[in-house]
Subunit: 343 residues, 2 copies
Amino acid sequence: VGLRDEILEQPEAMARLLDLGREPILTIAKAIRDADIQFIVIAARGSSDHAATYAQYVFGVRHHLVVSLAAPSITTIYGSEPVMSRALLMGISQSGASPDVAAVLESGRRQGALTVAITNEPDSLLAHAAELVAPVLAGEERSIAATKTYTAELLAIAMLSSALLDEPLETLLAIPDAMRGALESEEEAAAAARELAPLPSCFVLGRGFEYATVREWALKLKEVARVMADPYSAADFQHGPIALLEPASIVLAVAPSGPAGGQVAALLSRLSRDQGARTVVISDDAATLATTRHALPVPAALAAHLTPIVSVVPAQLFALHMAVASGLDPDKPRYISKVTRTH
Amino acid sequence: VGLRDEILEQPEAMARLLDLGREPILTIAKAIRDADIQFIVIAARGSSDHAATYAQYVFGVRHHLVVSLAAPSITTIYGSEPVMSRALLMGISQSGASPDVAAVLESGRRQGALTVAITNEPDSLLAHAAELVAPVLAGEERSIAATKTYTAELLAIAMLSSALLDEPLETLLAIPDAMRGALESEEEAAAAARELAPLPSCFVLGRGFEYATVREWALKLKEVARVMADPYSAADFQHGPIALLEPASIVLAVAPSGPAGGQVAALLSRLSRDQGARTVVISDDAATLATTRHALPVPAALAAHLTPIVSVVPAQLFALHMAVASGLDPDKPRYISKVTRTH
């Protein structure tokens, strides 16, 4: 079982979570409603930190809640415990094994915060530190680069959001099929990777809900294909890093239909026209896809907050095929292990 | 007046802020004490977002307050207004002109949050949006790359922190002299830049209070020297991006004495020994500086939360001299303007 298999099994992993993962999430939603939550704090590292970024937008846009992404070293290195007694405190981790993430949960729980772990390992340090656990049920992930656990973490957050708003979870059942549609972009992703490999560096741009996707896309490219990929929100990119663009710089982008994706698409047009950038674009919008030589289509019709669960799939496939086209083994990234324990 | 002049005038800018900027900050500290603050939200872009990162550690470690770095698009693109009525809401911006940062402040002020602007332009959109204003008094900044306004924003945050803890602001008077000491690293910074130029890419590592410094160092390198510099907390780096290291990869690091810097120094030793990385290190610790060919010393003896105001100075000088050594004009970065208005 390798990275490609785990990418391909994501529709089944999502269907399983929607079915068997439902009860714990409804329990957590009830606990959140019963508590008087003033804000949310999320502790996470690596890909799970991108799931936390996604959660910042979901809870901000749909629940009007401020989300803080915790800086664990405030507690683990400086020994301070920020006041979280009125917060919902979430820890997100595939392995649940990183001591610094668990330490933040323990600090909050001691203060009386409602603590929730979202993890693929319900018998882990993190799960034991939290009062409530949402297992993401992705099955064992053997590849070092996280794929199905990342999308499962996103889906768990989307399920929790729906449960909190009393939306029927059945509306999420469209996700596995949309993911199957996104997997059909593999040929385009492989062709784009072959044409651009070896890619020393690139920018990855998105905005809003898809900011999580561009951070995750960049990390996959770093981990498996050794591409120096630099992710930016389209807004922050214009506050400085745009100075790095060279003619023929490669810009990857996630630009779904809607206002956030529209801003990204407009920036992409400018970068192509004025600065000669070459682009790879993930989108459900035909007009946006028509502007690039390397279009990675995803199915339309999901709500804006659900598209990141699906739009990351062509990004994963592009990273995989970039590794292959660069003569690297995507199943054997260097220097990293599946479980990283930082303090 | 160019970038180098503005780097060199920082000790005077700090002395001016410590003197003339004192009263507004004491007023803000009193307002914060009178309010019942549950958490802090900060909106900022570019270099000012790195000042916000610094503030997350300062308020977390010294005041036990959770800080959320706002995602402005939640309000400006998705039209949602996260609940901030019990928050201290800060906007940080050199120009005060970016509409998205001002929009977050306006949203909070409508809800009754205590709103504070930290800006070099007290007659700006942001300043008018906020109830209270702390001018950073850095004087006109002509260079496109922010330097003296960045350190002045950090110092304003440090002054506010001291005022809130009833520490005499006189303890901060050591900063201008420490900065003068850090400016003496210019020759070493220039020599390191000459030896490493042109630098296509590098990593920049730090942790804790200095995480802001490594983000700012990377941005300066991007803006003025077109270096694809990738900043990481030393912990996050081990959760994936470490896979990118090649023999002779360049790793820049900020590793002051103390536990956070000690972790960075230990990681650096491993990267040099096992992966053949070449390092450039900013530190006040003689033993850490002795491990690298490119040591950029800063004076010792500032408290850990104050060192970022000084340790960024050799980073600015290194970026400046990297531009010069690469045949670029550091006063004319491409594609960016002094004031970037994003929505």
